[in-house]
Symmetry: C2
Subunit: 92 residues, 2 copies
């Protein structure tokens, strides 16, 4: 599995859409981990995805690492706006 | 500083209210760390509080640890509802 394929970007879809994406990734023969990436309000969804996947579907899954940060997003009106980000690494 | 005093519970107030609470805690002579706790939609706010405090006000502050979990909240209609939680430990 290449690095890109093992990243699930969390956005505005329902939690279960991303849970399904995570499970699909991890069911590949050589897949051992997946990274969830989110920013802004999707941060809560990312935590939900990690928790629902782990509790309801894959009890062997562990949270390997969580990191937070800030991205500067360019604004249409000019300038930038700071938005918080999260990365959650899940490992089988 | 006792354990209780070093916890900041993040809710629905503006980010800057909690940033101020964190800074106030850490400006005590013997305070070296503070724990942010949040659940549900306030998770995003907790990440914002950590990032804004660190980037704008206290550049020596580091993220010591982040953990996520699930709480079962009792419902008025009976039964429980699962809600995601986050704990962010900040250290000077």
């Amino acid at each position: 599995m290449s690095e890109d394929e093992s990243i699930v970007y969390i956005g505005r879809k329902p939690v279960m859409s991303y849970v399904l994406a995570v499970i699909t990734h991890l069911n590949r023969p050589d897949a051992k981990e997946v990274m969830l990436k989110a920013r802004g309000r999707a941060i809560t969804t990312a935590v939900d995805v990690a928790e629902v996947t782990r509790r309801r579907f894959m009890s062997d899954l562990t949270v390997e690492n969580i990191s937070i940060g800030t991205e500067e997003l360019p604004q249409e009106v000019g300038g930038t706006r700071a938005v918080s980000t999260i990365e959650i690494k899940l490992k089988l």
